[in-house]
């Protein structure tokens, strides 16, 4: 990642914020109105805005107890994963850093698998996932640094090695506890499809905390992108910023993974798409990643539950299937836009 070019915007324009909010609004509307069970559009809108509607109790239940929490949760998870991806990229000054490539998701998966195999209650799963994720990110960083601090590839290679290693341990634990195999798989594949407001409340505190810490450091991340020595010279407490931001991103990722399962691609696709369109300042990338990450995952989840309707498709399949071509499109067109 090169230094911030002077001609790039460092301030979030009102227009960008409006586009972001419109994307979220559009995704939420679409996400709550489309599904395997037909709910009349106009009546649903009325209901959503609290006016009397002709919906049956069952339709109203489906709308408010099943679809809305799923949409909200998808938005929160997408927002967090995109924000975490952008943070890792900033802190490690590495365009390829994301929760997957750094082994964070694998660590969270291992933590949760161990907890499930030990018979832990669902309430401690986010904590177990966080413990695994922190171990993974610290180990990846330590290994990557010991190889060569300047090289972007060494960190990513360390992350890939760490992810494989942790996945191997996870598979071993699974095979030793085949009685909990189905529960572990259900967890890894995600529970967006079965979630309600309870899950939203469960992860909201982690996401608010993680997101706030990251967004408060957006200026610091811009300074960090100049290089470690330069940032220190400018008075940025490099170690502390790095620790705080990585901790916040990891906590948020672990909480998101705890309800959504392992969803790839969001953390790398969304921030890069935004970077390609708007420029390299984290003051712009971070807030927009949060907004478009939310919209992206809501649409991905909508696709997951409608494409085979009334059967479901795992959402990770959709994020990768939509994400990869979309990324190529952005990559190809961005040259012209800039």
């Amino acid at each position: 990642m090169s230094a911030t070019a002077p001609d790039r915007p460092t301030r979030l324009s009102a227009r960008a914020v409006l586009v972001g909010l419109a994307a979220i609004l559009g995704a939420v509307t679409l996400g709550s109105l489309v599904g395997p069970v037909h709910i009349p559009f106009g009546e649903a809108i009325k209901r959503l805005f609290g006016s009397p509607s002709s919906l049956t109790d069952r339709q109203a239940d489906i709308l408010t107890a099943v679809r809305l929490p799923r949409v909200v949760l998808g938005g929160l998870v997408g927002s967090m994963l995109a924000l975490a991806g952008a943070s890792y990229q900033g802190v490690f000054r590495n365009p390829l850093a994301d929760p997957y490539l750094l082994g964070v998701a694998a660590g969270a998966g291992l933590g949760a698998t161990v907890a499930i195999s030990a018979g832990a209650t669902p309430a401690v799963l986010p904590a177990a996932a966080f413990a695994g994720a922190i171990v993974a990110v610290v180990a990846t960083y330590a290994v990557g640094r010991s190889v060569g601090r300047r090289s972007t590839t060494s960190l990513i290679l360390a992350g890939v090695a760490m992810a494989s290693f942790l996945t191997a341990i996870q598979t071993y634990v699974q095979q030793r506890h085949t009685d909990t195999l189905r529960e572990v798989y259900a967890w890894i594949l995600g529970r967006l499809s079965t979630s309600g407001w309870h899950e939203v409340l469960l992860i909201l505190p982690y996401l608010v905390f993680g997101g706030t810490v990251i967004l408060l450091h957006r200026r610091m991340l811009d300074v960090l992108s100049l290089g470690e020595e330069e940032a220190s010279a400018l008075g940025v407490p490099v170690r502390r910023v790095r620790l705080l931001v990585v901790g916040a991103a990891t906590l948020g990722t672990a909480a998101a993974v705890a309800v959504s399962g392992l969803i790839g691609f969001v953390g790398i696709i969304v921030p890069h798409a935004i970077r390609l369109v708007t420029g390299a300042s984290y003051r712009v990338i971070l807030p927009l990643s949060a907004m478009f990450g939310a919209a992206f995952l809501i649409i991905a989840d909508l696709t997951a539950r409608t494409v085979l309707s009334p059967a479901e498709l795992p959402i990770g399949v959709v994020t990768a299937f939509l994400g990869a071509p979309f990324f190529v499109l952005v990559l190809r067109t961005a040259k012209g836009l800039r």
Partner: protein, 315 residues
């Protein structure tokens, strides 16, 4: 027949705890005859059996059977061949006195199996050319794959009877099963059609009517709500929550009570499920996961439990 049932009931009590849910009905299929003294040993060895893996010859009455199939284990014990079983795989948790080992039927190791010096091995599928490897060691193998119909179940029980010298007992088991199944179907024959949702796990993976279990339940006058989600008939779609709520099935059948701790309360607590007919009227049937995923004699217990629940709904 009466004597056999009495023996079976006695054996069941003696077996004590079974890994079951509260609602599992009594199992009446365990005979406790020892191979050498039993009058049911009618088959003269060697016997030749046409199985899924070709023609298999068992030269003498086996006394060290290794079963890597939980279903076959249940069948072997049901026909009174339990005493001849030397080792069963780590998933064969029923009956409780089966000689459980850490052998695995999912990724089996030929050497570990051979270490039991088996004179017959029973498997449900053939990963990594297991059957061929055992053949080269001169160990007869019966491949008894997942049944697609009740006839398959009866055939497999008969084959195991022939291979172990329990032809008569096997015949009795299948006859009893058939009689109970016919009785359950007859009883439901005049009832209205009901809808049901068959849950395999709490992420709403479901079995449709094209699966073995679906075909077993259909003659009870039941229509499966998952069918529209599986146009190609693969059998096990993952449904969306709102689709199940929209379908509002008369019966919710839970085959995830053991693996995932599901019950009436956890189902009622799901977002948007509290107003479902089956929830408000209590028509949720907890089933033993294993009975639902295997195709052994216990499927009749499952069938009767569902039949009883359907009877309640129709009242």
């Amino acid at each position: 027949m009466i004597v056999a049932l009495a023996v079976a009931l006695g054996a069941c009590t003696a077996n004590g705890a079974t890994p079951s849910t509260d609602d599992e009905t009594t199992v009446t299929f365990i005979e406790t005859t020892t191979p050498s003294t039993t009058a049911t040993t009618t088959a003269a060895f060697p016997v030749t059996i046409a199985t899924a893996n070709g023609t298999v010859t068992v030269f003498s009455e086996p006394h060290a059977i290794v079963s890597l199939s939980p279903t076959a284990t249940e069948m072997l014990f049901a026909i009174g061949a339990g005493g001849q079983v030397a080792a069963v795989d780590d998933q064969s948790n029923y009956p409780a006195d089966a000689p459980l080992t850490d052998l695995t039927g999912l990724s089996p190791n030929v050497e570990a199996i051979a270490a039991y010096d088996p004179d017959l091995v029973v498997v449900a599928f053939d990963p990594g050319d297991l059957v061929a490897s055992l053949d080269t060691l001169g160990i007869p193998v019966l491949l008894e794959p997942a049944a697609t119909s009740l006839d398959d179940v009866y055939t497999q029980i008969s084959q195991l009877g022939e291979a172990t010298g329990h032809t008569d007992a096997a015949e009795r088991v299948t006859t009893t099963m058939q009689a109970r199944i016919v009785a359950a179907y007859d009883e439901a024959a005049s009832g209205d059609e009901l809808t049901y949702y068959f849950e395999l796990d709490p992420t709403y993976f479901s079995a449709t009517s094209s699966t073995f279990i679906g075909e077993l339940l259909a003659p009870l006058g039941l229509r499966n709500v998952a069918d529209p989600a599986d146009p190609d008939g693969y059998g096990y779609p993952q449904l969306s929550s709102e689709f199940i709520i929209g379908a509002d099935p008369d019966l919710i059948l839970l085959a995830d009570t053991v693996c995932c701790g599901q019950n009436k309360d956890t189902v009622a607590a799901r977002p948007g499920w509290d107003s479902l007919d089956a929830v408000t009227k209590g028509n949720i049937v907890p089933l033993n996961d294993d009975s639902a995923s295997r195709w052994g004699p216990r499927v009749v217990d499952l069938l009767e439990a569902v039949g009883a629940a359907a009877r309640e709904v129709r009242k």
